[in-house]
């Protein structure tokens, strides 16, 4: 790209031309009509988008941590690809949250009002994250491939059932994000299911490892189907996760049966005074995850890349 003079070359307007992927990330909802549907409370919608966006963001980060650790190159690429899809979903949902929230009255939704996606991802503290605790589980140190497969199987099965229903949302932006997400999470679930069968129906050792992976994630399953007050308030905009429990159980039964595994019968992990991931109460591992994920952005808060 040529410039008429040296000043033009360094001016902001032309900055993007000099970099392969731009100097800053543009709004992922650029040009999308983000006006609120009639009768929808902006702060409720913001809170809801934050929940689904945080689920995707935190799970994506866990999958990214598998780079250089997967058993084969193909699986490293697979886990990174799945992480990338979820990161894309997180970007859209966090951006939607920031646009939907209004500063008044004070609420969880108000706390995200007008904040761009990067501010929400990198400059919120642990108690402000609304993701389910399943996404936080660490499986990469020490490396436990069966655990990440079990975690992904449960996560993708649950999210796919939820996104499929969300395609009928009265909010056209959520419906569109869900429709794209369904296509992606379908093969995330297939990937995890195929590995579950391969390990479960493999050697005695791989069978034992896969079963213990499933057992380890099972205490976090119950929370996925709790109906949150925001989901209740957003009747035809949000999806009540409790509606998807049967579909989830059917898929898990089918996979476990093909994998010669037992669907665990382990009670759900209690909250802290009843408060769980959706209320901003997380596991011990969440602080370490955020410290790593947010370190660069917090060290260089003005940086663009």
């Amino acid at each position: 790209m040529s410039f008429d003079n040296a000043y033009e070359a360094v001016s902001e307007a032309n900055d993007q031309a000099r970099w392969a992927f731009g100097t800053g990330f543009t709004d992922p909802l650029s040009g999308v009509d983000t006006s609120l549907p009639s009768g929808v409370d902006g702060n409720d919608l913001a809170s809801y988008c934050l929940m689904l966006g945080d689920d995707a963001l935190i799970m994506s980060h866990r999958l990214q941590q598998w780079c250089t650790r997967a058993p084969e190159l193909e699986d490293e690429v697979a886990l990174a690809n799945i992480g990338l899809d979820l990161l894309g979903q997180a970007r859209l949902l966090l951006t939607r949250a920031g646009k939907a929230g209004t500063a008044m009255p004070a609420s969880a939704g108000a706390a995200v009002a007008d904040r761009p996606e990067d501010a929400l991802a990198f400059f919120r503290d642990e108690h402000e994250f609304r993701n389910i605790r399943l996404a936080e589980l660490s499986s990469h140190e020490p490396v436990d491939f069966a655990l990440v497969i079990a975690q992904l199987l449960v996560f993708a099965t649950w999210r796919l059932a939820l996104l499929r229903r969300l395609t009928d949302s009265r909010d056209p932006v959520l419906a569109a994000i869900a429709a794209k997400g369904v296509k992606e999470v379908t093969y995330h679930r297939d990937y995890a299911a195929q590995w579950t069968v391969r390990l479960g129906d493999g050697t005695d050792y791989s069978h034992r490892r896969m079963q213990s992976g499933l057992d380890a994630v099972w205490p976090y399953v119950g929370e996925l189907f709790d109906t949150h007050p925001v989901e209740r308030a957003l009747a035809d905009v949000a999806v009540d996760p409790a509606m998807s429990r049967t579909e989830f159980d059917d898929v898990l039964t089918q996979v476990c049966s093909a994998a010669t595994l037992t669907v665990p019968d382990i009670p759900p992990l209690a909250g802290v005074s009843g408060r769980k991931g959706r209320d901003g109460v997380h596991t011990e591992e969440m602080g370490f995850l955020l410290a790593e994920m947010q370190a660069v952005a917090r060290a260089h808060p003005e940086a663009t890349w």
């Binding site: 731009g22 909802l29 990338l84 899809d85 992606e184 069968v197 579909e247 059917d250």
Partner: protein
């Protein structure tokens, strides 16, 4: 879906170059990851129109996390500016979601020529999405030797939109654009 492009003379050229139809200009822009394909071949370019002297280009992402979207926007803006259109607005639409069915016949031919197997038709279903525990049933032909006897090595490849396969006849590995 695609609106007609307005006549050529309405905007004011800011450079002394020949001004062509803005749609024709936008259609020359290629995909950053699959440079043998234009964004039009890929079905990513959804609309080009002119509103009050501004060229409005509408694109849709193939995958939600596709990191090439910013580059596509920049490439479109630069191509149109180089053709003399000063005001360019690139908009994103998410609905309906991109489908590999939108890759044009021309695009599929170019993929095959480049050794990348083009996608077949997308499966349709209503209600709960069926689980796939085995390999996908549809046959994928080897783009090198044409044999139908190929196997999937990984559902994931160098970009989100491709899987990695191998031909059982000529033993060459190849990439396949996934059906979504």
């Amino acid at each position: 879906m695609v609106s007609a492009v307005t006549s050529q003379g309405r905007h004011t050229p800011n450079q002394a170059r020949r001004i062509s139809d803005p749609r024709a200009v936008a259609e020359t822009v290629t995909d950053p990851e699959l440079p043998m394909l234009t964004l039009a071949d890929l079905g990513v370019l959804r609309d080009v129109s002119e509103v009050d002297g501004t060229v409005v280009v509408t694109i849709t992402p193939t995958y939600t996390g596709c990191p090439a979207m910013d580059t596509m926007r920049d490439d479109l803006v630069h191509a149109l500016r180089d053709a003399g259109y000063r005001d360019v607005d690139v908009r994103t639409v998410l609905h309906p979601p991109w489908s590999s069915d939108w890759i044009t016949d021309e695009g599929k031919r170019k993929l095959a020529e480049a050794g990348i197997s083009p996608p077949g038709a997308t499966p349709r279903n209503d209600g709960p999405i069926p689980l796939t525990l085995g390999s996908p049933v549809h046959a994928v032909r080897c783009p090198h030797c044409g044999a139908a006897n190929t196997e999937e090595l990984s559902r994931f490849s160098a970009t989100a939109c491709k899987s990695l396969r191998r031909c059982r006849v000529c033993a060459e590995p190849f990439e396949h654009v996934k059906e979504i």
